[in-house]
């Protein structure tokens, strides 16, 4: 910059950045946000907007075909909360959620612990547990509805043989919930197992060796090392299971031919109730939207409760504070990463590529 070619009188104060410099500064400041913006734009479009619009709909009379009617305030909410069917739906939803969620998580933990051992034909077994997940939900529904049929089903034929007698899978409340939870578990246990397995493989093997030196048996190792080390993953699984479990729809809907949840609403869930209000005979979007919002709030509430419980349970057994690396390795909850790192055992680190799960921040 020895020669200044400015001819005019413009003093060209030195600190004024050129356009190029300014662009480059903006680049540094703004670009990161632009790079992550597609997610947020998409979320705003297909997540946030429908959420808020649903709330707007819930304050009006709103017909599926006719569209917006007059403003009714909380009228739809008070209607819905007065309906016995809504409460029956809530009871069924929680019952099916508990039957499926608890069994699924515990079953997956046990399966993952077994698969984590040094067994023969590892890949075969590990892929095997995922097989049910590949089967289309409708196919699962068709197969299970044949097996759970009251008069001609496989299960009742077997129960009859062993002398217990047929169970009214489509008549009684609890049996119908068990049948539906079975369908859900059949489909999802393997998937959750792989998530747990991936996290288990990321636990450093030295920890187990140390436990072994201290005289801990397999069971003690599982409860005092594996479970505490899995804490972030368990929280992740429980939260997603809560969100999914409280929205359960497919399996109960295909459980009988009418899809209304049984002649006495034995297995009608809240989401089925939403569907019936909005797309059934009433075609009442206002009421359906009101139930949707109530369900949304319930899910948030239950999610928070679950978060606190799982944090406490998993923490009570844990060493005061797990070493930071251990927490980081726990985030490798990614089946692909698990497969890639399988042979490296304890050497697996948490920096595997793939989607990050929210437990990183928990």
């Amino acid at each position: 910059m020895p020669t200044v070619t400015t001819v005019g009188a413009a003093p060209a104060a030195a600190p004024t950045p050129t356009l190029r410099q300014r662009l480059s500064r903006w680049d540094v400041r703004i670009s990161p946000y632009l790079y992550i913006s597609p997610f947020f734009i998409l979320f705003a479009l297909v997540g946030l907007f429908p959420l808020l619009y649903t709330f707007w709909v819930s304050l009006h009379q709103w017909n599926l075909i006719g569209g917006q009617g007059k403003f009714v305030g909380i009228g739809n909410y008070s209607y819905v909360l007065e309906q016995p069917q809504f409460w029956v739906g809530l009871r069924n939803t929680f019952s099916i959620f508990l039957l499926s969620g608890v069994a699924q998580t515990l079953g997956a933990l046990a399966l993952a612990a077994v698969l984590d051992q040094n067994i023969r034909a590892k890949t075969f077994w590990r892929m095997g547990v995922l097989l049910p997940y590949v089967v289309a939900p409708v196919a699962v529904g068709v197969i299970f509805s044949k097996m759970f049929a009251d008069q001609s089903g496989l299960f009742n034929a077997l129960l009859d043989k062993v002398g217990i007698g047929a169970i009214g899978w489509h008549a009684d409340v609890l049996p119908s919930h068990i049948a539906i939870a079975t369908m859900v578990n059949f489909r999802w246990t393997g998937y959750v197992t792989l998530i747990f397995l991936a996290a288990m493989q990321a636990i450093p093997r030295e920890v187990y060796e140390a436990a072994l030196m201290d005289g801990a048996g397999r069971v003690r190792q599982f409860f005092s090392v594996t479970i505490p080390m899995l804490r972030p993953t368990i929280i992740f699984v429980v939260i997603t299971a809560t969100i999914g479990g409280l929205q359960i729809f497919d399996e109960p809907r295909v459980f009988d031919q009418s899809g209304l949840g049984g002649s006495d609403r034995q297995w009608m869930t809240v989401t089925m109730y939403i569907y019936e209000l909005g797309w059934g005979p009433q075609k009442n979007f206002g009421r359906a939207a009101a139930v949707s919002w109530v369900l949304f709030l319930i899910i948030i509430l239950v999610g928070l409760i679950n978060f606190m419980i799982t944090r406490r349970i998993a923490a009570s057994d844990a060493p005061k504070s797990p070493p930071p690396e251990a927490v980081a390795t726990g985030t490798g909850a990614n089946p692909d990463a698990a497969a890639a790192h399988r042979s490296t055992n304890g050497a697996a680190t948490g920096d595997a590529p793939g989607p990050r799960h929210p437990e990183v921040t928990l």
Partner: protein
């Protein structure tokens, strides 16, 4: 569930945007008189060859045929796009069950009244698609006139007449006769007489002009003595052991065709194919040319032209041609959809039709006579299907799952009807 719900939502949105883009460009004529008409149907209407025939006769018309796999899929699509105000085909096929809700929005359909279709259909078919202000919003395609199907082999084993004319006499002409015949049958056979209380109730309620609502749409279902009486009658029959307690379309119902599930059933035209499919290895089904309580119809479809169509006149002309008797007879020959046109019901092709599975019964002739026996068009207002669902559930609680007494189940029905308000 879980991730799939969000994925589906995203995909639906993406496709929705994509389709909206397509449909607007696909429907433009280019000014030379050439038009592209879209025709949306579901299941099997038997129109494939007819479309080719029409395009050959009208070189300026191109027809795009969209076929939904199930009528429910088509119904969801119809409701959504009707609400959105765009995206429907130029001709949309509908089922008679959708009409109560669609008739509330006559402005969204083209009035199809025309001299060329005068007196084409059975009068009750036209009445179904006529709105309160006299608009005709659909051209009738097929119907489901009801007869009684029965297992001739089981009748014979019970020492009863099994020939279809004798059985028609044996079954009688009223529902009381039908139940009485059932008791005679079951005195000599272990097989239940009928599938369920609900399916018989369904047939009975379709013979009543105002069962659930009066003509102004006011709900009378819970006070109407006629409804309560029918309710008690079918449940009494169930109590007497006539019912197999098999809810229609359930897994148990479907598999019961493979064993001796029940001896008789209400049989609209399209049910013949269902029986044949479910009971492929069973021999002995036959059709009796009778129906208790007068004629009855169950199901049937129409072609409509939504008001959002850009080519309403061309679409109307095509719908007119497709639902003309000659074409519907061809559709009947292709896929067995039973025609609703007066002239088609007299056509020699139809009257000569027999079905080998039903012991070579002259089903064309029997069903044509059954169609003419229909006299009542039940009023079906906007709440009809909701009330009917509640009624079927009430009957199911007593007859199928046996979890309630008739009186307790009725109280729940009353609550359910009130909740529709």
């Amino acid at each position: 569930m879980r991730t799939r719900i969000t994925t589906t939502a995203a995909l639906v949105t993406a496709f929705g945007l994509g389709l909206a883009g397509c449909s607007s460009s696909g429907q433009e004529g280019d000014g030379s008189g050439k038009v592209t008409l879209t025709l949306a149907t579901f299941n099997e209407f038997g129109y494939e060859d007819l479309i080719k025939e029409y395009m050959a006769a009208h070189p300026n018309v191109t027809i795009e045929h969209k076929k939904a796999a199930t009528s429910n899929e088509a119904r969801d699509n119809m409701n959504t796009r009707l609400a959105a105000g765009s995206g429907l085909s130029d001709i949309e096929a509908i089922e008679v069950d959708w009409l109560p809700e669609l008739r509330q929005y006559p402005d969204r359909f083209v009035d199809l009244k025309s001299d060329s279709v005068k007196d084409r259909w059975l009068p009750w078919k036209v009445k179904q698609a006529t709105t309160d202000d006299g608009k005709l919003i659909g051209y009738g395609t097929d119907i489901g006139p009801e007869a009684i199907c029965y297992r001739a082999d089981l009748f014979k084993a019970a020492g009863l007449p099994s020939d279809r004319d004798q059985v028609a006499t044996f079954l009688g002409s009223t529902w009381e006769d039908y139940f009485a015949a059932g008791k005679k049958f079951q005195a000599k056979s272990k097989v239940p007489w009928m599938e369920s209380a609900g399916s018989i109730f369904n047939a009975m309620v379709n013979q009543v002009p105002n069962a659930y609502e009066d003509n102004d749409g006011k709900v009378i279902a819970t006070e109407n003595p006629q409804v309560r009486q029918m309710y008690d009658t079918v449940l009494q029959a169930s109590k007497d052991g006539l019912s197999a307690g098999l809810a229609q379309w359930s897994t148990d119902w479907t598999s019961s065709f493979q064993r001796n599930g029940f001896a008789t059933m209400v049989c609209p035209a399209w049910m013949l194919g269902v029986i044949e499919g479910n009971g492929a290895n069973v021999k002995g089904w036959d059709v009796a040319n009778t129906f208790p309580g007068g004629g009855g119809n169950w199901g049937g479809s129409f072609l409509t032209v939504p008001a959002q169509s850009k080519h309403p006149n061309e679409a109307k002309a095509l719908a007119d041609w497709l639902t003309a008797p000659e074409q519907q007879v061809k559709a009947f020959q292709a896929k067995g959809t039973f025609p609703s046109q007066e002239a088609a019901l007299k056509s020699p092709e139809l009257l000569a039709a027999t079905r080998p599975y039903f012991n070579d019964a002259p089903t064309g002739k029997i069903l044509a006579e059954r169609a003419k026996a229909v006299t009542v068009v039940p009023f079906k207002g906007p709440k009809y299907s909701g009330i009917n669902d509640a009624m079927q559930q009430a009957l199911g609680r007593v007859d199928v799952t046996k979890t309630d007494s008739a009186a307790a189940s009725w109280d729940k029905f009353v609550t359910a009807v009130k909740a529709l308000g």
